[in-house]
């Protein structure tokens, strides 16, 4: 019951953010996606890691609408679902050999579901931010193509809920 109330409160504070996340600062090119308020407190969907030149640790957080869809296996995700991927450089722990921990933050990347507004990109709007500012239009032009090519069958979303 406490949990449900929290969910309602969270839902009330983040749902239907005029379809593009709460407006704090500049929106992303093409999509107008902004960084949602309080996203850092959202539930963790999963961590991940990227090799190569990225060399990052990542964590994907989701708002209450997206978490509910994950837990219930709802696809496509409903309108109002928002996912936020935080990324940090992957650095060796100075305190434990063989462990790697987050270094400096690199990007915050956001997907907002609005099936009408973003009908031409699978219902998703994309935002990629560095230091709180959206990156350029050219980078945003590449988002959907990659999601479409690789995870069309999972409503264009790479991340699965970690058990």
């Amino acid at each position: 019951m406490k949990r449900s109330l929290c969910f309602l409160l969270l839902a009330a504070s983040v749902a239907m953010p005029s379809a593009a996340g709460h407006a704090d600062g500049e929106g992303s090119p093409i999509f107008g996606v902004t960084i949602p308020e309080n996203y850092r407190q959202w539930e963790m969907i999963a961590p991940s890691q990227e090799d190569g030149s990225f060399n990052e640790l990542r964590a994907i957080l989701g708002n209450a609408i997206s978490v509910k869809a994950y837990r219930e296996g709802t696809l496509p995700f409903p309108d109002g679902a928002i996912l936020v991927k935080l990324a940090w450089k992957r650095v060796p722990s100075p305190e434990f050999g063989g462990a790697f921990v987050p270094g400096h933050a690199t990007t915050v990347q956001i997907m907002v579901k609005d099936s009408k507004r973003y009908a031409f990109t699978g219902g998703w709007g994309f935002g990629r931010f560095v230091d709180g500012q959206p990156v350029d239009r050219a980078q945003h032009e590449t988002c959907f193509g990659c999601h479409q090519a690789n995870v069309k069958e999972h409503d264009f979303v790479f991340t699965r809920l970690a058990p």
Copy 2:
């Protein structure tokens, strides 16, 4: 305000769990630490990765008391702080080359702060669980020694809050 209310609710539901986490199932040897209710909804402190034979992705979540301490830089952590580390095998993403994602869950590891009850182990009780069951006494005998040897100056806690 909504946030604060959520925090209060969470705090009410998880704080002071008779010093050893909510009792769901068997407690850990030595410490009697149990798996806290609803910990999967707690705020993420940081992801991490472990190389070698572990080959795991991990995520450390914290209850409201621990998150407040992290954000305010409070050391030592106050009584009632609980940290939960979830670990999964690290597997290559089948959908994106160079990315790694959580495979099957391996362990859930818990630290509970109670400076009186756990006075002889830096104020922390430890629990290591596989499939919801605590591992044996011998494994629990090793917890504090490693934390003491490596992170005594950070109140015996490895994890830092990821920005």
